[in-house]
Every structure is written in C-alpha cells, then in structure tokens.
Symmetry: C2
Subunit: 332 residues, 2 copies
Amino acid sequence: MTQPVPMVEIWRGDLLESQHLGHAVVCDASGKVVEAWGDDEKVIYPRSSCKMLQALPLIESGAADAYGLTSEHLALACASHQGAAIHTDRVQLWLDGLGLSVDDFRCGPQKPSDKDAHEALVRAGKQPCQIHNNCSGKHSGFLTLNKHLGAGSEYIEVDHPVQRASREAFEEMTGETAEYYGIDGCSAPNFSTSVAGLARAMAKMAKPDGTGARAQASKRLVEAMCAHPDLVAGEGGACTELMRAMGGKVAIKTGAEAVYVAILPEQGLGMALKIVDGGTRAAEAAIAGLLVKYGVLDANHPAARKYLHGPILSRRGLNTGHMRLSEGFVQV
Amino acid sequence: MTQPVPMVEIWRGDLLESQHLGHAVVCDASGKVVEAWGDDEKVIYPRSSCKMLQALPLIESGAADAYGLTSEHLALACASHQGAAIHTDRVQLWLDGLGLSVDDFRCGPQKPSDKDAHEALVRAGKQPCQIHNNCSGKHSGFLTLNKHLGAGSEYIEVDHPVQRASREAFEEMTGETAEYYGIDGCSAPNFSTSVAGLARAMAKMAKPDGTGARAQASKRLVEAMCAHPDLVAGEGGACTELMRAMGGKVAIKTGAEAVYVAILPEQGLGMALKIVDGGTRAAEAAIAGLLVKYGVLDANHPAARKYLHGPILSRRGLNTGHMRLSEGFVQV
C-alpha cells in the first residue's frame, strides 16, 4: 500500500507549524488514471463530495421533470449550502411544490454557517431547523424521487428504494462495488469507494458516454453546478469562490473529512482527493493546486491565492503565516 | 529524524475514515524523558499551551502582588477562555483595577465561542471586542506586568520588556534557546521549543525546584489553574471538562494547531504533544489517553470517554462513528 504524500504546509514565521498528508487522483473518462499521488486505491467515504452522483436517479427516474425542477433545484441537490436565505427560501418553495414540509426531512437541524442567517435566527429567538441543514437540497432531491416512486417516509434507510437507487448509480459511476457504508452527518448512507473510483466517477460526469439517460442527467447536474456556484456552497465558501474564479467552466465539490472533487468538462477529466487527517483547509489548498496545474484556475486569481496561500492573519489582521503546497505534490 | 506516529483514528461504520499523527513526550522534573512517541526533538510552537510560562514574570516581578491579583486572575492569565460572562466580567474588573480599558489591549477582537455570550451580543446588536478574545486574560497579565514595569504601550512587540521577560522565562523552563518565533493569533510573539522542551517545562511547573521566586510562581499558577477549571476554558471545553474529571489534581492546557500539555504535581511529571496536522480533536484524545495511562484520569469518566471515543453523531443524534487511539500509541 502506497503511503499518503505530504500535500499542504502551514507556516508561521520561518517554522513549518503543521502539515497535511493526502491521496489524490486525476482520471480521464475512459477510467484511466492520468496522475496520482499517494494511494489511488485508498478506500474512503466521499461524504458530500458525491452529491451529484446521489442526484443522478432524481433525473434518470423522471422525477425531476415530473416535478418541474430547474437548474437551481439541481444545483441545490448537489450542494453543501450555508443555510443562507438564497438557499433556504428555495428549499422551502421546493418543499411547498412537493406538498411536503420541513418535518418530512430526515437530515436533522443544523446551525446555518451563513452569518446573517444565523444572526437573524438569534434575533428572532428561533432555533435552526432541518431546512438550514447544509444537505437540505440533497434531501429535497431524495424527497422528490421518493414521491415519484411512492415509497415510504424513511427515505434515508439504506434499503429504501431511494438509497438503493443512489447506491446503484454511485457504484456504476465509480466502477466499484462499495465495500463499506457509513451514516453521514445528515443521516443518509454514504458508500465507500477508492479515491481512483471517485475520480473516475467525476471524469464520467465531465465527459458522459453516449446520449442516454445517464449522460443527459450527468450533463444537467454539472451544468447546474457551474451555473449556480452561489447555491452549491455560499458567499465565502471555497466551492463558490473557486467555481466563480474558473468562470463556470469547472464544477467542484467538497466533502466532510477533507474530500474534494472536480469535474472538468472541457478537458474530460475528473479529480478526487482525500486529506488523511480530515483537515478542510488542506483539501481546499490541494484541489486549488490541482486546478491550477491542469490549467483551469489562474494561480494569481484572488480566490486561488486565498485557498493556496492564505495569508494566515492574527485577530488584529497582522500577517502571521501562510500555506503552501508541499514539495513532491503540485507546485504552483 | 524520527517520524511522527499514528495517534488518533476516526472511524465511521467499519471504515477508518481519518487519522492523525503526532509527537508526544512525558518528562520528569529532572528533565529526563520518561516516555516519548514520534520525535521528541521536533521543534514546534506551543501556542496557547504555554500561557502559564508566559505568566511567570507577572508573579516573579512582583506585579501580581502589587495589583492584588487572586488565583482567579492567575487562572485567567493562563486561559484560552470562551468569552463567557464569567470570563469577560472578570477581565473587565481586572482592567478597571489597572485603570486601563479594552482599548489598551493589543489582542484584537474575537467572536466568543460561548454560545450564550455570542447570542447576547447579536441580540444587543453589538460586535465582539478585544475582551472576548480568548487571550484577554493573558493580555491582562501582560498589561499588569507592563504597568508595573512602566514600559510602553506596544507590549506585544518582541523586543518590548514584557515579551523579553516572557521569552527569558520560557527559555529557562524549556531549557532551550528558542530558535524561532512566530506571531500568535493574539498578535503576541510565540517562541519555539522542542516537544521535549515543552514537556520539561511542564515537569518543572509540576515539581518546582527549591523555594525561590520561580518555584513559588510556578506553584501559584498551577494551583490557580487547578482551582478554576471553568476560567481556563469554559463550559464544554476540553481543558475544563478533563480538569474537573481529575478533581483539580492536574492542570492541562490546549494550544492552537493541536498542542496539548499537562502538569501532574503529585507525580512530578510534565507532558506535551503536538498533532502534526493541527487537528484539535486528536490533541484532546491523545492527552486524555496519556492522562489515563499515567493514572490521573479514569478512562470510564464521561469526560474521558467523550474526548477519547466520541461518539460521532449525525445531526439527528444517530451514532455514526467513534474515535480511538491508534495501535502503537497509548491503549486505554
């Protein structure tokens, strides 16, 4: 088993203070590994990075069209959103359109990471609810598929038709049988894959094979993510800022415990990486580095600089340190 | 150079999802390394874990007694507090007693991590200020020493008498010349040491040599931390919960980027550890493991179980995974 490689360094003054190791893979649409660091066969949970795969059955089943979902809905289905008004207002309308309510969600409540939304709740004396959960768009997609299928209310159970469809699409796209599954933070099952399998799935999203239902669904989801970077995360979020910096030509997505994926339609490439320790700052820096290397992100764009280098500021705004990619990984 | 060792594992379902590596050292008061994992000579910034060393000149100079500081003040000087009312009210009174104001701080503003304090600010339409900075107790100590010395207002500059005194005490206690310094999040300098040097300093705090000013100051600071675990961090904080679980017999302190130290007076031992990737959850688990191994923390105490094992819950409260210490590190 190949060991993980140093990927991201945190410097303070002249001392390397902290360091992150990881695995990363770039695949083409034939499934061929174009480039890899660490162990491309390392088995991981993709967590939220695979929401676009989980959303494939929503379209392929006909549910998305039956309920008139737009590209905004599809972007939200792929999102880990910040619970800002632009997210929760749309999710509420989506639920209304389904004739369902927040109580039909099974994702659990979460404090919005959007500052304004959180402060508005506090001022109103209200508690965060399930609509603020960063996965409420994904769960709206699950509920839409579930209504279309006419299945039972516990749509997050691993043997429920919604999750069986999700697993099937996931395994077809990764080209692997999921060896493990875990319960995600939103209580839905999350299936395992190798890092190469995840990159392969992203390459297939980037350059779908043929013109069938899978190809069309893949294309619609990637286009939705690229068209609505603000819905996929939110203001100040890495997915949003980096997708904007790439002018809507590349879809990227973060997952908990430091997973990141990228879908490059023009290049027909998919990327996936996992930082071993789960440190999100390193996953953001590493994916930014890969995107620069493959020519889709300008290393001098302010968003690229922010996620690649920092700076790391004190609470008075003094420059105390910076990040950089480790030798042996991508050099930008 | 010895490599860092696996210390803490994050499991979800039956898959090892993330892993943290680190360095750890246990020293006795003679400076002898009793036990070590990874590289005991690894040079690190102790960050906030060394606040009790930075507070030594406050007492040794006579400033603490000249301004009537109690053990509560001393505990706050060693604290990374959560900005709760029990912290900020005391810091405000301390400033009042010095005839100074929040504007004399140079630590910068910080959102209180205490939920109630943060929500009270939001409801009042107020912004967090410097008093909410987790280091405002340390900076009150700096201001007290500074007033006693009659030095200039920029007490956080590295060549200011307050920081020169802090560096001198730090180097005497670690037994090392600091090779590097960095600017901490609170804009004060933070000096480097090896992990062994930091553990050595903690052992000297645990079992001071002789009855001189250093010994007395060390004893007062350790007693203050042990007497006021709620002031050292706050409700729900690892330092507070684990110190309470040990019945006030051991002082422990966290530092940013996953440093942790422990002072064991009855055993005459000091501990220090650094998780390479800066992951705080792992530093908390690792110090809890060391404290269990050395017989001062009951592995079955709820606080010990929380920091050693989790559980890791979904947002609906489902048990999704757990933490455990890696093979080759402490087994509890």
